[in-house]
């Protein structure tokens, strides 16, 4: 490069030279050459400085970028929350360290694999439902599901699932941020267990009030059975009269059938008593709310009779099954019915009635108890469902508060309002069972 420059310098010197002495010419050329050499050196130094500066700047910038990347990576990896990204088909494209740690696998092992097999089978359908409902409009969805761990046990996780789109609105992939809520769930289970105990204690207390009535209810069929037995015996004794024997045998047979049915009736009452007072863990099963209403009204049959209260049933047919603990809901019914009976002690006998009705819509099943009692004073309405609050002299203030916690444990609500004219109405709202969507195939 330097030769090239010197050559061009030579050429220009030659071409512009006028006739002078050789010595002069030589000196001139030498001076010009020296000047050029000096300029060249200056430019070269300048260039090298600039290159060095740019390089240093680039290095600094790279360093900053690296630091930033490391910071973000460490934020994602060091936090306790799980962060994953995935493609339709549930294929991992990114997993953070927290998630790898929980599963006991490395990110290399996980990336590219499908995560559906580690979702608990009971939650899988609902998970698909949630993901299918994601879109441009609602790109977030929260979901709780169990994850099967390598040792076969499972943990409960809460996830916020999100659909990611690019600037143009095209779908890129899913991102899910989750955390382990097993302990939270366990704590909730413990609370539920305690609530179940409380409910049981309350049922036993209720039974204490009902026991005299139940004794009456049991004596009724026993009395019938004994009387039929006596009638049967007398009929059998009369068989000795040959002309009448066929009639008496027939009657005696009828009597024994009645005895058997009366005994079954007794057994049924005792069984329902036992079921009502027996402690058992909360059992969620599918059942017909109308049936629960009937069972509850049987338990307090004597109480309603004693209070001279007429029960009017307006139960909708074809009621959708609901999910919950039958005995606890029966308890809610018993509590509400007994309250209604007590509220009507001042009501004229001919007006004492409780209208029990059920209805349903697309999302919930409703059960209403409408009485003709004294209602509730406006200033007490707020505290209706508070624990240890009671307007009754003998009341513990547990009945309605328990009803409320039972309703809430079933994902429902309960409220009570004064009727326009007389008495008040309590309404229990329970959610209908959310069935997984009909399509059995997975679209994610």
């Amino acid at each position: 490069m330097s030769i090239d420059k010197s050559n061009s310098g030579n050429k220009s010197a030659n071409s512009t030279g006028s006739p002078r002495t050789d010595q002069e010419q030589f000196l001139n050329v030498e001076a010009a050459l020296r000047e050029s050499e000096f300029k060249y050196q200056q430019l070269k130094q300048e260039l090298e400085h600039r290159v060095a500066d740019r390089t240093a700047e680039l290095l600094r910038s790279n360093e900053r970028l690296r630091a930033s990347e490391a910071r973000y990576r460490s934020v994602v990896n060091c936090q306790a929350e799980f962060v994953i990204r995935w493609l339709p088909g549930a294929i991992f494209t990114f997993v953070n360290e927290a998630f790898c740690r929980r599963l006991g696998q490395t990110s290399d092992e996980l990336l590219g694999t499908c995560f559906l097999p580690i979702i608990h089978p009971e939650d899988a359908a609902a998970f698909q439902d949630v993901i299918e409902n994601l879109g441009h409009e609602n790109s977030y969805a929260d979901f709780e599901n169990r994850i099967i761990l390598p040792d076969g046990s499972f943990c409960w996780t809460h996830w916020t699932n999100q659909m990611l789109f690019d600037g143009g609105g095209s779908f890129l992939e899913y991102q899910s941020v989750g955390r382990d809520i097993t302990e939270l769930r366990n704590a909730a289970d413990t609370i539920r267990e305690k609530e179940a105990h409380l409910a049981h204690v309350s049922r036993v207390a209720t039974m204490g009030e009902l026991v005299a009535g139940m004794a009456h209810e049991i004596h009724q069929p026993l009395h019938a059975a004994k009387t039929f037995a006596e009638a049967a015996r007398r009929n059998l004794e009369m068989i000795r009269d040959p002309q009448q024997s066929t009639n008496h045998i027939e009657t005696a047979i009828d009597c024994t059938q009645e005895i058997s049915s009366a005994i079954s009736r007794t057994a049924k009452i005792i069984r329902s008593l036992r079921e009502f007072t027996h402690f058992r863990p909360v059992k969620f099963e599918e059942f017909d709310l109308n049936h629960v209403v009937h069972e509850a009204s049987k338990l307090i049959a004597y109480e309603t009779r004693k209070a001279q209260v007429k029960l009017i049933f307006n139960l909708v047919s074809g009621i959708p099954v609901i999910q919950g603990d039958q005995i606890q809901l029966q308890q809610v019914c018993v509590n509400l019915l007994m309250n209604a009976c007590e509220a009507m002690c001042e009501t004229p006998v001919e007006e004492r009635q409780i209208l029990i009705s059920t209805r349903f819509d697309s999302s919930q099943v409703l059960l209403a108890f409408c009485d003709a009692g004294c209602g509730i004073a406006e200033e007490n309405r707020e505290r209706l469902f508070d624990a240890f609050y009671s307007t009754k002299q003998q009341g513990m203030g547990m009945g309605l508060s328990l009803c409320k916690s039972i309703a809430e444990a079933h994902g429902g609500t309960i409220f009570g309002e004064n009727n326009e004219k007389l008495g008040m109405t309590f309404v229990l709202e329970l959610p209908r069972i959310r069935r997984p969507s009909n399509s059995p195939t997975m679209s994610i």
């Binding site: 005299a212 004794a215 009456h216 004596h219 009724q220 069929p221 026993l222 009395h223 019938a224 059975a225 004994k226 009387t227 039929f228 006596e230 009638a231 007398r234 009929n235 009369m238 009657t251 009828d254 009597c255 009645e258 049915s261 009366a262 009736r265 004597y302 009779r305 004693k306 001279q308 007429k310 006998v349």
Partner: protein
């Protein structure tokens, strides 16, 4: 000729009603059952002799209230009270209302049978007595006020002479009244006349000598 006795059963428990009907059937007697006291009061037509078997605790009118209502109406049939939960106040009230007996459900062996049987027997006797009272009262109504006065003196044990003295009439007049009284009352002896007077309560201390 005595009428066939009838048994009425009032109980809001259908099976309990049916059981008592089956038991009564073994006595060869007709029986009717009612699900409430009100239904029975509506249907009852003063049939005698009869026995009522009623439960205490029922929707609407209770068995004890039914007894009280029957007493108000002057119905005197035998009442057997059944209860599944006997308390002292209930028992006292039932007996004071004139119950033949109060029994606790479930009843022992043949106690209910016996109770109904004796209820019917008691009512047959009461009914006969009541009928007799009615007959005697009808005869009494035939007497003139004077004859009625003489009757009171006669059954109080006064001699004709005493009565004549008291009423300031002749012995002959008293004897005539006496003859009319025996005739109208269809009494064959003084003893029978006294029994009749006792039955309907025509005995007055003030007529004693």
């Amino acid at each position: 000729m005595s009428k066939q006795p009838k048994v009425y059963v009032v109980d809001d428990d259908q099976q309990a009603c049916k059981a008592v009907l089956a038991l009564v059937q073994t006595m060869g007697l007709p029986a009717e059952s009612f699900a409430s006291a009100e239904e029975f009061l509506d249907a009852y037509d003063d049939y005698r002799p009869a026995c009522l078997v009623t439960d205490v605790r029922m929707l609407g009118m209770s068995g004890l209230e039914l007894q009280e209502r029957l007493n108000e109406l002057g119905v005197t049939i035998s009442v057997v009270v059944l209860t599944a939960f006997a308390s002292t106040p209930t028992t006292v009230r039932a007996m004071r209302n004139g119950a033949l007996t109060l029994m606790e459900k479930p009843c022992d062996d043949d106690h209910l049978w016996e109770a109904i049987r004796s209820g019917i027997a008691a009512d047959e006797q009461n009914w006969k007595l009541e009928q007799r009272r009615v007959t005697i009262k009808q005869r009494l109504d035939l007497l003139t006020p004077k004859e009625r006065e003489v009757l009171e003196y006669v059954v109080a044990g006064n001699a004709n002479k005493v009565i004549a003295n008291r009423l300031d009439v002749s012995i002959r007049t008293v004897e005539n009244h006496r003859q009319k009284i025996f005739q109208k009352m269809q009494a064959l002896s003084l003893a029978e006349l006294v029994r009749m007077a006792l039955t309907v309560g025509v005995i007055s201390d003030s007529r004693n000598s």
